[in-house]
């Protein structure tokens, strides 16, 4: 449960500017979606929160702690930021079974065995994987792997949970169920979430706040109903209309 603040974030690779001037406040327990066409910079913004990318200028804070501010030479490495992340490719470790995958963050942090077992049991039942703890990942379906990834992201009670198109590799039916499940778990935990997607249905059904992006700029942000009722320009209107 934390706030996340982007202040005038810029990101460029050499001369190539990816993010121009990105400012955003995310509240405690808020579910925020970054929505926009592929290549518009959503993933880059998300990864800057985790520390897997560094912003070129501006500052990022989690709660009151600045985690990245190149002007003041502040950079907290990913392993010290205490954020969870769920990747599009699941990134479930193939050499560990379900239990070991989920327990890994706790082991790294030095929890003792019984604590680990309790926490994992709890989270496993929340993501509905009970009974599969001893399975190896290659014996899991895509949906189950994504649940493992979700559990692994949540088990250490991170300040923020970051999700990068977590459902795009799943089939339509499973995607629908997962949408509801993720949202419910997020609300139960009261955890702050940033959710990246190019699928406007996902964004509109799950989020408290939607940030619509294009070419590295924020075009519009607001609640789903705000945006649906008052699209700020043709791009937004077009974008939320497609796929219906």
């Amino acid at each position: 449960m934390s706030t996340v603040t982007f202040k005038n974030i810029k990101k460029s690779y050499d001369d190539l500017v990816i993010i121009k001037d990105f400012s955003l406040d995310i509240d405690n327990g808020e579910f925020v979606s970054f929505l926009g066409p592929s290549g518009c910079g959503k993933t880059t913004c998300l990864r800057m929160v985790s520390g897997l990318e560094t912003n070129t200028a501006g500052s990022i804070s989690i709660d009151d702690d600045v985690v990245s501010d190149p002007q003041n030479k502040i950079f907290v490495p990913p392993e010290k930021r205490h954020v969870g992340m769920v990747f599009q490719s699941y990134a479930v470790w193939p050499h560990m079974n379900v239990f070991d995958n989920i327990a890994y963050p706790l082991k790294v942090k030095g929890y003792n065995k019984s604590e680990i077992a309790d926490r994992v049991r709890e989270i496993v039942s929340i993501v509905e994987l009970t009974g599969l703890e001893k399975r190896m990942p290659d014996a899991l379906s895509g949906g189950q792997q994504q649940r493992v990834a979700l559990a692994r992201g949540l088990v250490m009670k991170p300040k923020v949970l970051l999700l990068d198109e977590p459902l795009s590799n799943l089939d339509a039916k499973l995607r629908e169920k997962m949408r509801g499940d993720i949202r419910k778990i997020q609300q139960d935990f009261g955890i702050t979430c940033i959710y990246v997607t190019h699928d406007q249905i996902e964004a509109f059904t799950m989020s408290d706040k939607i940030v619509i992006m294009n070419h590295g700029d924020i075009i519009q942000m607001g609640s789903p109903s705000d945006i649906r009722n008052n699209p700020i320009n043709d791009f937004v209107a077009d974008f939320i209309k497609t796929q219906h």
């Binding site: 990864r47 990913p78 010290k80 990747f87 599009q88 470790w93 193939p94 963050p105 992201g153």
Partner: protein
């Protein structure tokens, strides 16, 4: 005439011919080797094996081979593992440059390294010993042998790891970082277990390469009285007696069995344990910021580079330019060795000519053959075509010493009933190169065919072209980059081949490799002659490698 041409260039004739040659050169010699040793006079006998196994010196050679190979594997792993991490996962400056530089020994024949390290660290007048004191370093030891082999064969593991690390989904490691693990911890708990099959496969390749290596143990081991299986087989064969040949043959079969075992284990590991690490779209890996370690690690890399490359190359250069070894005065340096080697004997021009011709013919023949086999492999539905790759890789993975012996036993008197005397001719050498390097060609051409869509050729056939015409007008041009790469990939190692050639060579048949070997072993007292040729070999390899990389747009070459 027209009919003959049509039959000769028909699809069936060409493809059938290709398969026939594949059998003759890639399988038949092994069968012959086996039968000649096990049924020498028609009756079954294991006496040659018994003789070999009862001989104390061959058992010592076994043991030496084992220890040197294991030592080389250890050294290679300890070098390749940290290097692969540094060069793929961190923001070390000049990453791509370091990457190609540290892979370079892969293309250089290891016996060049043996020569260089002899110049640097032979106990009496090694260049380093003239700095540190006489006898400070002694290359003529087990560790000297391991050091030289390791300094080349680590590239097998490095290349295998680099490929695996590049292929690996970066989010696997990123997820571990976000779980709170430091970069080093991620490497050992996540990365290494996931790329373990590739690591093991690289290690086994090193095991195989060190057990099969001939030049280094011959130059460094023999003077020290340390014999390995390959040098033992060589000694037995050079004895010239039938008994010697039979013992060499039996020993070869044992070495072959060892090599096959290693390969089978390798196959097992790769097929059982290989995790599917590529899944869906992946992000670009975020590089680990080395921060304040950047400078010390860069300096470390530079030192390693100097030790592995600059010093050996320097040793060769100094030796090549020295009139008298061990005298470091300006007046002692000049091009005297060059003129002597090139203009005062006819051996050098002959060796260069032979090497060029052999490599040229072998490269052309394997490439044509690769074209045919690659076509069968990728563009036909022929049953059992998967055997092609296995057959072609058989001579490649066979230790060169064994392969040469099998070729001597099989083809000395002719090929398949055609009575041409091949023993003591370049013909025998060229077919041995052909068999050994066919695998390189097949792999590049199969790659090439795999990337070309069938419909292109179908379009030309529909418009009435015969198979041969469509081959000539469609496939050849499209395959040109792959064919050129294949040609040079064979030409390069063939030009400086030593292991097989030394067994197959005879009077007047010297090649670059055997001439360097002979100059180093017996001939040139000052050592300058071997140095001159070694230096030129390194330069040639560097140039050809750069050229291959250029024409294949970075796909082949290092």
């Amino acid at each position: 005439m027209d009919l003959i041409k049509r039959v000769l260039f028909s699809k069936r004739m060409i493809l059938g011919g290709g398969l026939f040659l594949l059998f003759v050169f890639c399988l038949y010699p092994f069968l012959t080797l086996f039968f000649k040793i096990v049924f020498p006079q028609g009756g079954f006998t294991l006496q040659h094996f018994e003789k070999v196994l009862n001989s104390k010196s061959t058992m010592v050679a076994f043991k030496n081979t084992l220890w040197v190979s294991v030592g080389t594997c250890l050294m290679s792993t300890f070098m390749a593992l940290p290097l692969s991490w540094l060069l793929t996962r961190t923001n070390i400056p000049m990453r791509d440059k370091w990457r190609s530089w540290f892979c370079l020994p892969y293309a250089i024949p290891p016996y060049i390294g043996a020569i260089a390290w002899i110049y640097l660290t032979n106990p009496s007048n090694g260049i380093l010993n003239s700095v540190f004191g006489e006898g400070f370093f002694n290359i003529y030891t087990n560790s000297g042998l391991i050091w030289v082999m390791g300094s080349f064969f680590y590239t097998f593991i490095l290349l295998s790891l680099l490929a695996a690390l590049d292929r690996m989904d970066p989010s696997l490691e990123e997820a571990a970082r976000l779980s709170g693990a430091s970069p080093i911890r991620v490497f050992f708990q996540i990365t290494v277990p996931i790329i373990f099959p590739s690591l093991m496969s690289g290690i086994l390749l090193v095991l195989l390469a060190s057990a099969a290596s001939f030049g280094v143990p011959a130059m460094i081991g023999n003077p020290a009285g340390i014999y390995l299986l390959t040098t033992k087989i060589y000694t037995l064969q050079k004895m010239g007696s039938m008994n010697g040949i039979f013992m060499a043959g039996a020993l070869s079969i044992l070495l072959l069995v060892l090599a096959t075992l290693v390969l089978i284990i390798n196959q097992r590991i790769l097929s059982k344990n290989s995790f599917k690490t590529v899944s869906g779209k992946t992000s670009r890996p975020s590089l680990i910021d080395l921060g304040s370690l950047k400078t010390p690690l860069s300096i470390g890399l530079a030192i390693l580079f100097v030790i592995l490359f600059v010093m050996p190359l320097g040793g060769i250069t100094i030796t090549a330019l020295s009139k008298i070894q061990g005298k470091f005065e300006l007046s002692n340096f000049g091009f005297q060795n060059f003129t002597r080697v090139f203009f005062e004997t006819d051996e050098t021009p002959r060796a260069l000519m032979n090497s060029f011709n052999l490599a040229f013919i072998a490269a052309t023949a394997t490439t044509l053959m690769g074209l045919i086999l690659g076509y069968i492999n990728k563009k036909t539905k022929l049953k059992g075509r998967s055997a092609i790759e296995i057959l072609a890789s058989l001579p490649y993975s066979t230790p060169g010493t064994v392969l040469a012996l099998a070729f001597i036993l099989t083809f000395s008197a002719g090929v398949m009933g055609i009575p041409i005397r091949l023993y003591n001719t370049l013909g025998l050498i060229v077919i041995a190169y052909f068999a050994k390097y066919l695998n390189f060609s097949l792999r590049t051409t199969s790659d090439g065919f795999g990337q070309i869509d069938d419909c292109l050729a179908e379009a030309s056939r529909v418009s009435g072209a015969t198979w041969w015409i469509s081959m000539k007008t469609i496939w050849f041009p499209l395959m040109k980059p792959a064919l050129m790469a294949s040609w040079f990939l064979v030409f390069m190692p063939a030009f400086s081949e030593l292991t097989m050639t030394i067994l197959l060579t005879g009077p007047g048949l010297e090649t670059l490799g055997t001439l360097i070997f002979q100059l180093q072993e017996y001939g040139d007292a000052s050592g300058g002659g071997a140095a001159v040729l070694a230096l030129l070999t390194v330069i040639a390899v560097g140039l050809i490698n750069g050229f291959v990389k250029f024409i294949s747009k970075g796909k082949y070459g290092l």
